[in-house]
Symmetry: C3
């Protein structure tokens, strides 16, 4: 079933993911030859109520490589509401006249769905609220695992960091649960563990998982280490404790030779730069995949839209 | 007589308005097929000293649909004056080297004229000062009436809201006065009524008008209700009083079946969202017309410029 | 020897400067016909941690006239660091996946070199730190002198203003020292004179120079007056004193008929607008040359990059 907007990871069935990843492989070739003109009539608006240069550039570059044009806001929240109480729905109904798709990042959970409810053009959710969704990140993460490990079945994946309000981890866990014989480890201080709703979902799908409070013991077992940010100010831990939830060079020796380390970036202290040179450090390749996956997604949206 | 800049509504004679509206009709067809490449060598700079995502995107989208390219500022005031006392005239003389037209929004009345005095490329005034001009808004308003009502002669138009410093109302009243048998109603609290200079102008042109302090009595007579923002903080009125200058669902019944409701947007509390579904609610169509009118205007400027 | 990044004036040998200026002459013709499509697959990212609309537009317009596309930030510092302690190196490694060149302006000296150390795509330094480099400004200044005076040998050049932390003056002095029989005058209040490292460099290259604390006496001798900003708040001088380091109309009479007045802009009080009409006022032509020089530089970088 085709889709009109990209709002949450749950939209992506296995066949849709397969089509997306096939298109992503194709987009790598498109970028290698400098892009295409196939979508040169498309205008994509970046409506970022919460600034993020990296994510914004990733979408805008994807638009350009597809041949399209870009309307941009660096900080829509501060600069567009001339009046108090202006409605997001009104903004979307106006701006949708000026473009062929809207990429929205918003501070409120559910904002993307509200936008989609009134928009005649495709809405792409680039993150809404800290507990909300960021589906393009989850799918580029999944693509990275698929691409680096050559499979998505039978993998052991460790999530490390502040997992309670990590929307990337929540969305990725949801997607991984679709595949066979997956084993998930959630490594976090007790007060920052993954929330019960995800665990209930995994139980229902018979996905094996384990909650841990130190990364050390499972390092030798996992195929993927997915490290997320830990806000030091939230921790009452000392540096020794912190090391339980971080990656340093000494840990590399304990990891499988073909495992990979991922991170949604930007990082703070969680991964020491000395690790960057190790071929298992996949986070910059992961960021690069964001370009290809977003090109693939936008091309799917445009193709559906144009065939109507 | 061709024009080099777009600075104020007064520039637009009846023949020029006719040409503009013919081009606007044509631009609708251009957009329907995804745009043109006719102006692909043109670079348009958005120089917004006062941010407005909607207006900026409208101009930038118009540029893209014409085939051109965009230099943009979200908030030029905050970010470009490295030094105190930097002159607008200097900025224009520098930036005009880098583009083929400048769209300027400025907090000071008269800024667009000052820019035009030194600019070798066309200046388009996208609003200067609260008492200043916003000619592209006035012309897209006029086009919307023309398009929705199929004529500009013999119409009754009610302006509602804080009319004293509403530059859109002032400019539109000026333009409507050019047409035959027009009747204007100005509905506002006494302290926010339209200023005498507009009334003197209407007297001189023998245009019929009436000042009112409630919308109710004329709702059944008018072809156009042009609602503008009322800043609640300016009002010492209670909610009952406020309803005299607002549109709600109960008023729809009293209006002509073929009347239209306009608003320059963004709205605050003046028009309840439940009205949006009524076919007479024309404000989103009005916003869409902004794209076509601005494409038409820019194409006129470029054609004049290139023929020199 | 080809170069991969543009980081500092010192990179530019005499043969490279010759190639750059030949290309700059050619780019004038390209702009006169509205630009080229030769580099239409190139995406250039403006990463401005310190805002400057003028410099940013100059680079972005150059990109467009070459046929390329633009990713832009008005104020990257404020809006992209979601976390404290985010590393510039990480930002560059991510963003370089989304573009073919990065133009960076940064508040820290040496930032451009740090970016270049990790970037797979060309880095162009658009100013780093107040004591750092701004090589594209220095080269457009040099090109302007070459273009206006028809030579770079045997010229007398006066630098006026706060010379101690003027990176444009420092870089230009460095470049001028490469040419024969050049004579430099540094005119500044004692506490703002040019720093000793530049003078040592001039001594080593046997370049004649003189330190002065008033512009008057050498006005009749010089071919170029290069005026820079004087921050009034830094001065404990009264207006009479200030006039020693400023250009006003009375001084024009004392200058050679074929001398030129330059300024990196924006200006404050240093040059009275009444001087703008004098044909010797070259500062707006200088700003225009910025477009051509930057097109030439980017085309050189892309040609080197693509030939690898």
């Amino acid at each position: 079933m085709p889709f009109k907007h990209i709002l949450e990871s749950q939209q992506f069935t296995l066949p849709l993911i397969k089509e997306l990843f096939d298109r992503t492989d194709y987009m790598k070739k498109v970028v290698a030859r400098g892009g295409t003109r196939d979508y040169e009539k498309k205008i994509v608006a970046s409506l970022f109520y919460k600034p993020s240069t990296r994510t914004r550039f990733s979408f805008e570059s994807a638009t350009y490589r597809l041949g399209g044009k870009v309307l941009t806001t660096e900080q829509a929240k501060e600069f567009s509401s001339e009046i108090q109480g202006e409605m997001l729905e009104d903004t979307i109904q106006i701006i949708s006249n000026y473009c062929d798709a809207i990429v929205i990042r918003h501070h409120e959970e559910g904002a993307a769905k509200r936008a989609a409810a009134v928009s005649p053009v495709p809405i792409i959710n680039a993150g809404d609220g800290s507990g909300g969704q960021h589906p393009t990140q989850a799918l580029l993460d999944l693509y990275t695992i698929h691409n680096e490990c050559q499979t998505l079945n039978g993998l052991s994946v460790a999530f490390i960091g502040a997992l309670d309000n990590g929307r990337t981890v929540r969305s990725l866990a949801y997607l991984l649960a679709k595949y066979d014989r997956v084993k998930l480890y959630f490594v976090a201080p007790a007060e920052m563990q993954i929330k019960p709703d995800i665990l209930e979902y995994l139980d229902k799908r018979n996905v094996a998982y384990q909650l841990l409070n130190s990364v050390e013991e499972i390092l030798s077992k996992v195929d993927v280490v997915y490290q997320t940010r830990i806000d030091k100010t939230r921790l009452s831990l000392n540096d020794t404790d912190l090391s339980k939830f971080n990656i340093d060079a000494s840990m590399l020796q304990k990891m499988k030779y073909d495992a990979i380390i991922m991170h949604p970036l930007p990082r703070s202290v969680e991964i020491h730069p000395e690790i960057d040179k190790d071929p298992r450090a996949a986070y910059f390749r992961q960021a690069k995949n964001g370009l290809y996956v977003r090109m693939a997604m936008m091309s799917m949206l445009f193709d559906v839209y144009d065939s109507k």
